[in-house]
Symmetry: D2
Subunit: 140 residues, 4 copies
């Protein structure tokens, strides 16, 4: 096992990815023991779905948030970036407001795979989407 | 049933969404009878995953492509935009190259839900991801 | 909203299904306010996976448990049986022991569908599988 | 790579599992080169869902069929039984009739996992469910 990643390491890893930098993802909190991690996705005009109601995130960035926060939950446990094997997203409500918060919990980390749950909440704390992903367990 | 959407209608609907416009999604082909539709997602720097290998899409835009092309497959059958209920993505290979092509096939359209399969291929025709989604069947 | 189902109603509904009766599913607890419900699946020889280790459930009955307990979580909130729209199961560990306990939590119930999480634990309380399903919200 | 499994080997492996034997799964066809495999699940009274319409399979056995046929698609390519990592099932129509046919196609087989699509059809050839699963790629 390599050395644990600090919150600054994780933010740097995030910022090294052009897409994550475009999203403006910010690590809010993390726990290197359990893999629990939360990231904030601020609304920018390019992320809106459009339509009659303003300030709603398109479902694509919601899925991207779930992918990234889930992936990093495993990454901080194994000490480096891991591939996403598969991803599932259930949209529960429109995701509106100035930002979304994605919080990941590792349900199981084995030798080859990790399974992670991600909850997405809006600024009022309402659950707007739930995600679950399977990620590789070896940094590569 | 409302009137069928033309390929221009679908491109206009796409372009009315800031996020889809940012992605630069382009409708390549569609069949209003079956809901089969294909969209092209060009690589732009903000969509790259980063890392040692250049010109690879981040998994987030791949999921967003699957969401949007799957959603429009149902939309063109029911004559208007529909909500994504849930979405699943399996990443099979790195998604590299100048663009991705997402092709949707409606597996079932009922009164309340539609189920759609989406295949994502790279410029060399390799399958890089498969997606499946459940979408509402009533424009809203 | 029709009248709430009691725990006896739910057990009777379960027992009216030949497959659920074969499984021997038993309602352990339920909360008609929230849809939270737990069912016990006893191991019987026909449910074993076989192989070198005895007393392990095959993955099929684990999926069936998740389907049924998730479905009833919505059913008790809407007052009657509902269809399963889709189902996802992540196997975390071998499911061994004399029984499994499946516990469902409704994450969202809308007008047309409900999303339910199900956790499966073995007799020692270990989480062996997690499931998530989308169910219709109208008894039919 | 171990030696390829014959159709008789696969039927024997199936029959070594008490649950699969209970289901009465029968290998209809297989292709050891591609992993394509089809199995038949006959209706027996214990597999019925019950309710006003007779001769309909409960969703649990449909999920179990998808799990097993998908798993064997990878198993015949890697030369031995593999674990199911996760499983997704979309129910498209009631599954009725004297039997169901589950047909698996391997979409991708890598070093650590394989992704398989499964289609379930009734005796009249109607598609009643689609499944997709992720399976380990190492026998053990």
């Amino acid at each position: 096992m390599t050395e644990a990643l600090s919150i600054n390491d994780v933010q740097s890893l995030l910022d090294s990815s052009p897409f994550n930098r475009f999203l403006g993802l910010h690590v809010e909190s993390m726990d290197a023991e359990t893999g629990r991690i939360a990231m904030r996705l601020p609304l920018r005009p390019e992320l809106e779905r459009g339509g009659p109601i303003a300030e709603q995130f398109h479902g694509g960035p919601v899925a991207a948030l779930i992918d990234t926060v889930g992936d990093f939950a495993v990454s901080i446990l194994v000490g480096g970036g891991v591939p996403t094997v598969n991803l599932r997203v259930d949209y529960l409500r429109p995701s509106g407001g100035a930002f979304l918060l994605g919080t990941a919990t590792v349900r199981r980390l084995g030798r080859t795979f990790g399974v992670v749950d991600v909850e997405v909440t809006d600024p009022e704390g309402r659950l707007t989407a739930v995600g679950r992903g399977c990620f590789g367990a070896r940094p590569g």
